[in-house]
C-alpha cells in the first residue's frame, strides 16, 4: 500500500499548485467584491503566454511564470474595464473572458501544438527530503511548489493583517461606504482583479510549462472553474482554500494512479472524478449556509459605480 501512497501524496502538491494559485487569485478578487468567472480563460491565456515564452526565449520557467502572470493580468484587465469601470454584469463578463481566453489560447497555441518543453526537476530540500514518507511527499518537489506556498502565505497575511488587506475587504463589503470615506473603490477593485488575473495566469503557466510541459488545446480542462468552486468551498478563507486545493489535487492524482490501485473503471470515467467531486463539494457546502452567509463578501457580484 505504501508504495502507492507515496506517489499519490507526492503528486498531490504539484497537482494542487495550479488550483492554489488560481483559487488564491479568485479569492483576492472576490474579497474585493468582484466575481470573475473568467478564471478558466485567464488560466489559458497565462498558459499560452508562459508556454510561448518558454518555447521561444531562453528564460525558462521563471520567465514563463512572469509571462503567464502578464497574460492572465491582461485578460483580467479587459474584465476590469467591463465589470468594474463600466459596471457590466460580472457573471456575463467573466463568461465572455472565458470564451475569449479559450479562443485566444487556441489561436496562438496553433503554432505550438505537440511542442514539448523540458519542464522542471524536483529539488531536494537538504536533510528534510531524507525523512521517511514525509521526505519524498513534502520536500522533494519542484521549486514552483515551494514558491506557491510562500506566495500563499504572503497573500493570506496581507489580506488578514495589513492595511491594504483591510481596505480590500472593506471595498468588498460595502463599496458605497468605502467611497464615502474617500477610498478609490474602482481602482482598488481594479488592482484586486489584476492581482487575481496575474496569480491565475501563473497557475496556467505552471500547468503548461512544468506540470504537463506540452501544449494541448484547452489544457486547463476546467481547472479554472474548479478554482471558482474552491473559493466557495473555502468560504472565502485562505486556509480552507489551501486544504480544498490539496483535496482536489489528491483526487486528480488518485485518478491517474487508479490502475495501480486496482480500480478497473475506464479511464474516461475516472477522469470525470474531479468534476464530480466539485459538485459534491458544492452540495456539502449547502449544509454550511451559516458559514457561507457570514463569510461571503457582502457586495460580491454587485456592480458599483460611485454616484450612480
Amino acid at each position: 500500500m505504501i508504495e502507492y501512497l507515496v506517489p499519490i501524496l507526492a503528486g498531490t502538491l504539484p497537482a494542487a499548485t495550479p488550483l492554489v494559485l488560481a483559487g488564491l487569485g479568485e479569492l483576492v478578487t472576490e474579497r474585493a467584491g468582484v466575481l470573475n468567472l473568467g478564471v478558466e480563460g485567464m488560466m489559458l491565456m497565462g498558459a499560452i503566454a508562459g508556454f510561448a515564452c518558454a518555447a521561444t526565449t531562453g528564460t525558462g520557467v521563471a520567465g514563463a511564470l512572469i509571462a503567464g502572470a502578464i497574460g492572465g493580468a491582461a485578460g483580467s484587465a479587459i474584465f476590469a474595464v467591463l465589470a468594474v469601470w463600466l459596471a457590466a454584469n460580472q457573471a456575463a463578463s467573466g463568461i465572455a473572458l472565458t470564451i475569449f481566453g479559450t479562443g485566444l489560447s487556441a489561436f496562438i497555441g496553433q503554432h505550438f501544438v505537440s511542442y514539448s518543453l523540458p519542464g522542471l526537476q524536483p529539488v531536494n530540500l537538504p536533510l528534510l527530503s531524507g525523512l521517511p514518507l514525509l521526505g519524498p511527499v513534502l520536500f522533494h518537489q519542484d521549486p514552483v511548489v515551494y514558491f506557491t506556498l510562500a506566495l500563499f502565505a504572503a497573500v493570506s497575511w496581507i489580506l488578514a493583517r495589513t492595511r491594504v488587506g483591510l481596505v480590500l475587504r472593506a471595498v468588498g463589503e460595502a463599496p458605497e461606504a468605502a467611497h464615502a470615506l474617500g477610498y478609490p473603490v474602482l481602482w482598488i477593485r481594479t488592482l484586486a482583479v489584476l492581482a487575481g488575473g496575474a496569480l491565475t495566469g501563473m497557475a496556467g503557466a505552471y500547468l503548461s510549462t512544468v506540470y504537463t510541459p506540452l501544449w494541448v488545446q484547452n489544457m486547463t480542462a476546467g481547472r479554472g472553474w474548479i478554482a471558482v468552486a474552491l473559493v466557495v468551498f473555502a468560504a472565502w478563507k485562505p486556509g480552507r482554500l489551501l486544504l480544498g486545493a490539496w483535496l482536489f489535487g489528491g483526487v486528480t492524482i488518485l485518478q491517474l494512479q487508479a490502475q495501480g490501485l486496482g480500480i478497473a473503471l475506464p479511464s474516461q470515467l475516472m477522469s470525470a472524478l474531479p468534476y464530480l467531486a466539485t459538485i459534491v463539494a458544492l452540495v456539502l457546502m449547502s449544509r454550511k449556509q451559516r458559514l457561507l452567509q457570514t463569510s461571503v463578501p457582502a457586495a460580491l457580484g454587485k456592480p458599483y459605480l460611485p454616484g450612480a
Binding site: 468567472l37 469601470w85 457573471a91 470564451i99 479562443g103 489561436f107 476546467g222 474516461q268 458544492l282 450612480a308
Partner: protein, 359 residues
C-alpha cells in the same frame, strides 16, 4: 470620478442599438487582427463574411449552423431572463445527442418497417429527454442544495463529454472503425430527411422554426414568462408576489436543456450522422452569446443566431483560404460578447457631460 452617470430611465433605443454597435466594434477589432496577421482586412472580410454565402451550398451550411445556435439560445434566453445562468448547454447538447444516438444504435439493424418509422421520432424524444435530464440535475442541485448553477452546469458538461468519450471508446465503438472513437454511421431511418438534394440542410430546421414561434408566443403572452422576468429583475418582488422560485429554476433549466438536447439530435441525426467526439463545435457556448446579442428576445435571437453562424462559416473559410487557425472563431465570439457587454452600459448610463464649474 466615474465617466458615467445614470440615465433617468433605461434607454430603449440603446437596447436595440447596442448589439449593432457591438458588431461594428467587433468588425473593427477583426480588421486590426487581420492587419496584424499580415492580411488585407478588406480581402479577409470578403473571405470571412461574403464568400461563404455566395452559393446554394453556402446558404445551406449557414442554415445548418444557425439552426442549433438559435434553438439553444431560445431556451437559454428563458433562463437568462430569470437570471438562471445555465452555461452548460454544451453538456446538455451532448447528453441529448448521446441518448438519441443510443436509440439509433439500439434500433439499428431491425428489419421491422414500424421501427424504421419511429426511429427518428424516438430519437427526437430521447434528445429532449436527455438534454432535459442534464438540465434537471443542476436544477435539483440548486433548489435542494443551493449549489450555484453556473458551476454545476459546467461541471456536468465535462462529465457529459467524458461519458460520451467512454461510450465511443468502449461499448458503442464501431468495431470496424479502426479504433477511432466513434460509433457506426447511422442508417437513413435515423437521419433527418434532407430538404434539397445535394445540400446538407435537413428537416431539423423545422424544430427550430417551431421553437421560434413557440417561444415568441410564450414571451409575448404567457403569465409564466412574466413571472420569470420578475424573478430575474426583482427576485424580492417575485417572492413578495408568491411566485415559486424553485419553479423558475426548474423550468428555466429543463426547457433550456431540452432545447440543447434537441439541437444535439439535429447534429447526430444530421450532418454528423454518428456519435463521435466532434459533435458540436462549441454551439452550447456560442449560444450564450447568441442569446445576449439577440436581447434575450425570440426574434432578436434569430438575427444574432444567423450572425453567429456566419462567424463559424467565416472561421472555416479563413482556415481554408487564409490558412488562419479556425480558433479565430472563438476570438471573434469573445470580442463580440465583450463589446456587447461594454455597449450595454449605455442602456442604463450615459457619458457624463463635462462640468460647467470645475471644482
Amino acid at each position: 470620478m466615474s465617466l458615467l452617470e445614470p440615465r433617468p430611465a433605461p434607454s430603449q433605443w440603446m437596447r436595440l442599438l447596442s448589439p449593432l454597435l457591438a458588431c461594428v466594434l467587433t468588425l473593427f477589432g477583426g480588421a486590426i487582427l487581420f492587419w496584424l496577421l499580415g492580411h488585407n482586412p478588406v480581402l479577409a472580410f470578403r473571405v470571412f463574411f461574403i464568400d461563404p454565402l455566395n452559393s446554394a451550398n453556402g446558404l445551406s451550411e449557414w442554415l445548418l449552423k444557425a439552426s442549433p445556435l438559435i434553438l439553444i439560445a431560445q431556451g437559454l434566453a428563458v433562463g437568462f431572463r430569470a437570471r438562471v445562468y445555465n452555461i452548460g448547454a454544451e453538456g446538455q447538447l451532448i447528453a441529448g445527442a448521446t441518448l438519441a444516438g443510443g436509440v439509433a444504435l439500439w434500433l439499428d439493424g431491425s428489419g421491422n418497417p414500424l421501427v424504421a418509422h419511429i426511429t427518428l421520432p424516438l430519437m427526437i424524444v430521447a434528445g429532449a429527454v436527455g438534454g432535459g435530464l442534464w438540465g434537471a440535475l443542476p436544477a435539483l442541485l440548486k433548489t435542494r442544495f443551493r449549489a450555484d448553477e453556473t458551476l454545476t452546469t459546467l461541471m456536468l458538461t465535462y462529465i457529459a463529454s467524458l461519458g460520451l468519450a467512454w461510450l465511443v471508446n468502449g461499448p458503442w465503438r464501431d468495431p470496424n472503425g479502426m479504433n477511432f472513437p466513434q460509433t457506426i454511421l447511422f442508417s437513413d431511418k435515423a437521419l433527418f430527411p434532407l430538404l434539397f438534394e445535394g445540400l446538407r440542410v435537413n428537416a431539423s430546421v423545422f424544430i427550430t422554426l417551431f421553437a421560434i414561434v413557440g417561444f415568441w408566443f410564450f414571451n409575448a403572452r404567457s403569465f409564466l414568462s412574466y413571472q420569470l422576468t420578475v424573478a430575474g429583475q426583482a427576485p424580492h418582488a417575485a417572492r413578495y408576489a408568491g411566485f415559486s422560485g424553485a419553479r423558475t429554476v426548474w423550468f428555466s433549466l429543463v426547457i433550456s436543456g431540452m432545447c440543447a438536447g434537441l439541437a444535439g439530435v439535429g447534429e447526430v441525426a444530421g450532418p454528423v450522422g454518428q456519435l463521435n467526439l466532434n459533435l458540436s463545435p462549441g454551439y452550447g457556448f456560442a449560444a450564450i452569446i447568441v442569446a445576449y446579442l439577440g436581447r434575450l428576445n425570440p426574434i432578436g435571437i434569430v438575427v444574432s443566431g444567423l450572425l453567429m453562424a456566419l462567424i463559424y462559416l467565416g472561421g472555416e473559410a479563413a482556415q481554408v483560404t487564409l490558412q488562419l487557425p479556425s480558433a479565430i472563431t472563438g476570438l471573434f465570439q469573445g470580442m463580440l460578447l465583450f463589446f456587447l457587454l461594454g455597449a450595454d452600459v449605455l442602456v442604463d448610463f450615459r457619458l457624463r457631460r463635462p462640468r460647467r464649474h470645475p471644482a
